[in-house]
């Protein structure tokens, strides 16, 4: 597995990461609309994976699943302040830690 473990890099809030670090990684396509996840890494190391990284799907990035297209594919995600559509086949390449269901229910209009 090419997924690189997180390097100790300073970026603002980290409690989410430490809480989920023990859970199993799933493909981004496995998340349901409304679910959140934190990117862990990529399944491979090809041009597609590199492009997904350049689109902002980097370790530690929080992703919210917004919706599926009317016919089920592609899927719309929100990350890094923008909205990105990926097909299932590409989303599967992204490994995420499923964020636990929000307990303190953050308002849907404000991430984190």
């Amino acid at each position: 597995m090419a997924a690189t473990p997180l390097s100790p890099i300073s970026f603002a809030p980290s409690p989410v990461r430490s809480r989920v670090s023990e859970t199993e990684h799933v493909g981004l396509d496995a998340l349901e609309p409304g679910e959140r996840g934190v990117v862990h890494g990529m399944r491979g190391d090809g041009p597609i994976e590199r492009r997904l990284q350049d689109l902002g799907l980097l370790p530690g990035t929080r992703v919210l699943v917004l919706r599926r297209a009317p016919l089920g594919d592609p899927i719309e995600y929100e990350l890094r302040g923008y909205r990105l559509c990926l097909r299932r086949t590409e989303a599967r390449r992204v490994l995420v830690d499923r964020s636990p269901a929000p307990v303190a229910a953050p308002s849907p209009s404000r991430r984190k």
């Binding site: 350049d54 009317p70 302040g81 923008y82 909205r83 559509c85």
Partner: protein, 641 residues
Amino acid sequence: MTAAACGHEGAASISSSEGLLRLGLVGSPNSGKTTIFNALTGLRAKVGNYPGVTVERREGGADLDGHRAILIDLPGTYSLAPVSEDEAVVSRLLAGELEGVEPPDALVVVADACSLERSLLLVAQVLRLGRPSCLVLTMTDELVARGGKLDVARLEAAVGIPVVPVIGHRGIGLDRLKRILGHPEGWSRPPILPPASAIERGAWAESVLAHVLVRRPGRSGVTDAVDRVLLHPVAGVLVFAAVMVLFFQLIFAWAQPAMDAIDAGVGVTSGALRAALPPGIATDLLVDGIVAGVGSVIVFLPQIVLLLGLLHLLDDLGYMARAAFVIDRVMGWIGLEGRAFVSLLSSYACAVPGIMATRTIPSSRDRIVTILVSPLMTCSARLPVYALLIAAFVPARAVFGPVGLQGLVLLGLYLLGSLSALVVAALLKRTLFPGEGLPFYMELPPYRVPTLRLVATQVWGGARSFLKRAGTIILLVSILLWGLLNFPRVDPPPDLAPEAARSYAMEQSVAGRLGHALEPVLTPLGFDWKIGVGLVASLAAREVIIATLAQIYATTDEDASLREAIRSDVHPDTGRPVFTPGTVAALLVFFVFALQCTSTLAVMRRETNSWRWPAFAFSYLLALAYGASYLVHRVVDAFWT
């Protein structure tokens, strides 16, 4: 802290061949890059709201605070590590490896302030190129409206290059931007370059952002609300279908008054010229060749303007990306992807830009498939032909509320072309071009109110290129045809009436003989020699058939409009109408399929770098057109008469 104030000593000597500063504009799609380019250069350039529209490299001269500079509008990209031919051009250009193109002396990164979190990844890549760089922040008004706050001075300090916030569509901040862009030698340079690896770049972006983002922008409430409807599993599909129906209905209904006015204007002009000039061959050429030929094309400008206007309006609004999101699964079934949809959609206006838009498709196989089927999308050059035949032969009857029979027939023709394109693409993918699916990613930009000036600029650009074609190819073909139709000049038998004499002269002309020679092939489709002449002429460009028919019928009936003329035309032998329902239907279907367009063939040759694919496209589409027209003619005439 302004750029000039914090200037490192001008380490970079800004070199330039003609002494002109060359600035490269880099940015992701939807960043507002093209708006900035337009604002600085004043050039008419297309501005899109859909990822992948900016496919051409464009340059424009700009006056930057008294300095003349060349602005290079680089194709929109999310990354400098290329995955498509388009992006490879950018990285090669920036590296100075593109032959014949000087690399820019300095780079201007354009980034949407609302998605800075992502844009900083591109900024990091640009900084690593080591050229003088500066960052332009667009959509700062939107950032504020969404409750966000950004500390520009801290951003300048953190990134190490000048940062200029602008509101491109309102021109706010442009004067300062021009002052700064004019002096790249004074731009500050980052003391330490951002990291090279993607993962570390992400961490770098996070740390910069944490430093400069005072308040994170909330989500666009409007976009959330609208998307809940437009991307809804049921409502979204219904809206998609409704938008398409409305689209064509409106174009057809709204264009009519303007078309009638232009029609009348051309008639008046011809009449006045004929009255003022002495009769003779020169007057015939002017009136029947030039005025009639160009006039018959200009008359359809209102429809083209409306079509382009609606297309660009939806694009700038942000709906085109949603449409691709809704339709992507369908494109996936035929083995293509959302961006192929954009290309095919562009082909609704004209296959030429549609084919050029395929450059954003990374897989060359998918690219060729998309190019081969793009002529099946109903381009605006077919619209005049459809409009003429529908207006002449389909009754203007209401079918359901405001939806009329004419609009439904037009919609049917669009659907026939579109569905055929999908079927042919699926067949090609399964036979000639088997291959894996493309990586698909697409940004859904926030909905933005399109500025009318921008839409108008885009429409004018499209209309101008149509007129240019009308003015060059069509005018040339009109004159050539006038020659074919009038030479050799024969003396008709003296006892013939003037109209019949003209008809006789026409039949004896080169074109008439050609039409007659083709008749054995055309009769099974229900076409007579006049339609045959029109079809031969339309091989240059589809709409030329109208100019041709106008010329042919002008020789038999000068005063009635073309519509009346073809409606009342009868076979001289049988006395039955030339345009039977079967003939009209067959002709419409022929135009759905046949590749009658010199420009399309030329651009196919250029994009595939071989005559093989244009030849293939022309042959398979001609076979398809002939077969389908034959069937339709048989079926319709069997049921109608």
